[in-house]
C-alpha cells in the first residue's frame, strides 16, 4: 500500500514540479502515471522510489514506512539506466545479488537469454540493448514494488510485445507497479488504473474499468485531458518530408 497525501516538490532552482498530490495505491495494483513531457511524471516516480525527498514534512508512506526505509523492496527501472557501463550483464547480476536479498539470478539469466543479450560490457551496447539489461535487472530483484520509467524506449514493437508477455507471465499479482510511458497502446489492457498529471497536479485518477464504462480508451482520455495523441509526430514528419 502506497499512501501519498498533499505532496509538493520543488527543485533547488525553485521550479515547482508537483503540487498537492494525493492518492493511495493498494498492494497489487498496476498504475500508469501519464502526462505531457515535463508534467512531473519522472519526479513523482523518483519520489515514490525514495530517490528524491518531498518538500516540507510530508512523507510518502509505503506499507507505513518511508521509501528510504524500504529501498531494498523497490526496483526502479529507468530509461536513464542504473547499470554500470563497464560491467557485462552477468557481472552486473552478480553485483545485484550481493545488494538485493531477493535477487533471482536464474530469472535474470533467463531474461537476458529471452532478450538475446550477449556477454559484453554495457557501454558497447545499443540503446535498446541497454534498456533490456535495465529491465532484466529490475524484474529479477523480485521486489514487491516496481517502478518503470519509460521501459519501452529504444525497443521496437515486437520487443515491446514480447516484453509485455514476459512481464505478464512473471508477475504474481502481489507486485505494486508504477509505470510511465509514451507507448500507450502497449498498456491499454495491462494497467488497472491511470493517473494523469497536468500543470503540476493530478488532472484525473481513474480505474480502467471505470474508463471503459465511460466508453473511453486511455489514448482518448489523454487526448481529452492534455491534447496528446500517440505517435502524433508522424503527422509532423509527413509535413516535413
Amino acid at each position: 500500500m502506497v499512501e501519498i497525501e498533499k505532496l509538493y516538490f520543488t527543485y533547488p532552482n525553485y521550479d515547482t514540479v508537483l503540487e498537492n498530490i494525493t492518492f493511495s495505491v493498494p498492494t497489487g495494483q498496476i498504475v500508469a502515471i501519464l502526462g505531457a513531457n515535463g508534467a512531473g511524471k519522472t519526479t513523482l516516480l523518483k519520489l515514490i522510489a525514495g530517490l528524491l525527498v518531498p518538500d516540507g514534512n510530508v512523507q510518502i508512506r509505503i506499507d507505513g514506512k518511508t521509501p528510504q526505509q524500504i529501498s531494498g523492496q523497490i526496483a526502479f527501472i529507468s530509461e536513464a539506466g542504473t547499470y554500470f557501463n563497464d560491467l557485462t550483464p552477468k557481472a552486473y547480476g552478480d553485483f545485484l545479488r550481493d545488494f538485493f536479498p531477493a535477487f533471482d539470478k536464474a530469472y535474470f539469466d533467463m531474461l537476458l537469454d529471452f532478450f538475446g543479450l550477449q556477454e559484453r560490457s554495457v557501454k558497447k551496447m545499443s540503446k535498446g540493448q541497454k534498456a533490456k539489461v535495465e529491465i532484466a535487472a529490475g524484474m529479477a530483484k523480485r521486489t514487491p514494488y516496481i517502478i518503470m520509467d519509460e521501459p519501452f524506449v529504444g525497443k521496437d514493437m515486437f520487443t515491446r510485445q514480447d516484453f509485455m508477455q514476459a512481464l505478464s507471465g512473471t508477475l504474481t499479482g502481489e507486485e505494486t507497479i508504477f509505470i510511465t510511458t509514451h507507448e500507450i497502446r502497449e498498456i491499454e489492457n495491462f494497467v488497472d488504473r491511470v493517473i494523469i498529471l497536468k500543470g503540476n497536479q493530478i488532472a484525473i485518477d481513474i480505474t480502467l474499468d471505470e474508463l471503459r464504462q465511460e466508453g473511453k480508451t486511455i489514448q482518448e482520455l489523454m487526448k481529452e485531458m492534455i491534447g496528446y495523441e500517440e505517435n502524433s509526430f508522424y503527422s509532423f514528419l509527413d509535413k516535413t518530408d
Binding site: 498496476i30 509485455m164 507471465g169 499479482g173 488497472d192 474499468d209
Partner: protein
C-alpha cells in the same frame, strides 16, 4: 482445454468482460463442452498480455456467472446447466437482433422495408 488464442482484446470494454463474453460465445456456438478445463490464471495472463489480477478477476466473474467451477487444488473447468445454456442462447440472439434493429433505425428504414429486404436476403442465401 479452452483455447483463448482466438481472443483479440479490444480497448472498448473491460478485459474481464471481454473474457466472459468470449467464453459465453464458445458455449453458445457449441465449440466447448461441460467439463473442459481452462488454462491457469498465469497462462491466461501470459497469453493475453494482461496483468495477473485481471486474469484473476476474469475467473471470478466466470465463477459468479456460473460458467466455471474451480474445485479445490485443481484446474478450473467449464460448467453450465441447461437453464444457463438457454439463457446464453437467448442473450446472444437478442443481442444480434438488437444491434441489427438499431443500425436499421439509424439508416431510417421502416419495418416494412426491412421485412422485404430481409426476405430477399434470406432467400438469396438459400438459393446459393
Amino acid at each position: 482445454m479452452l483455447d483463448f488464442s482466438e481472443l483479440v482484446l479490444n480497448t472498448a470494454e473491460p478485459v474481464y468482460a471481454q473474457i466472459n463474453e468470449f467464453v459465453k460465445r464458445k458455449i453458445f456456438l457449441g465449440k466447448v463442452k461441460k467439463g473442459d478445463p481452462l488454462p491457469s490464471r498465469r497462462e491466461l495472463a501470459t497469453l493475453l498480455k494482461i496483468n495477473p489480477n485481471t486474469a484473476q478477476k476474469a475467473f471470478r466473474a466466470l465463477e459468479e456467472a456460473g460458467l466455471v467451477l474451480t474445485p479445490k487444488n485443481t484446474v478450473s473447468i467449464l460448467y453450465f446447466d441447461e437453464e444457463l445454456l438457454l439463457e446464453i442462447q437467448r442473450e446472444m440472439t437478442a443481442d444480434i437482433v438488437a444491434e441489427f434493429v438499431k443500425k436499421l433505425k439509424e439508416n431510417k428504414l421502416s419495418f416494412d422495408e426491412v421485412t422485404v429486404l430481409l426476405r430477399q436476403e434470406w432467400e438469396k442465401g438459400e438459393k446459393e
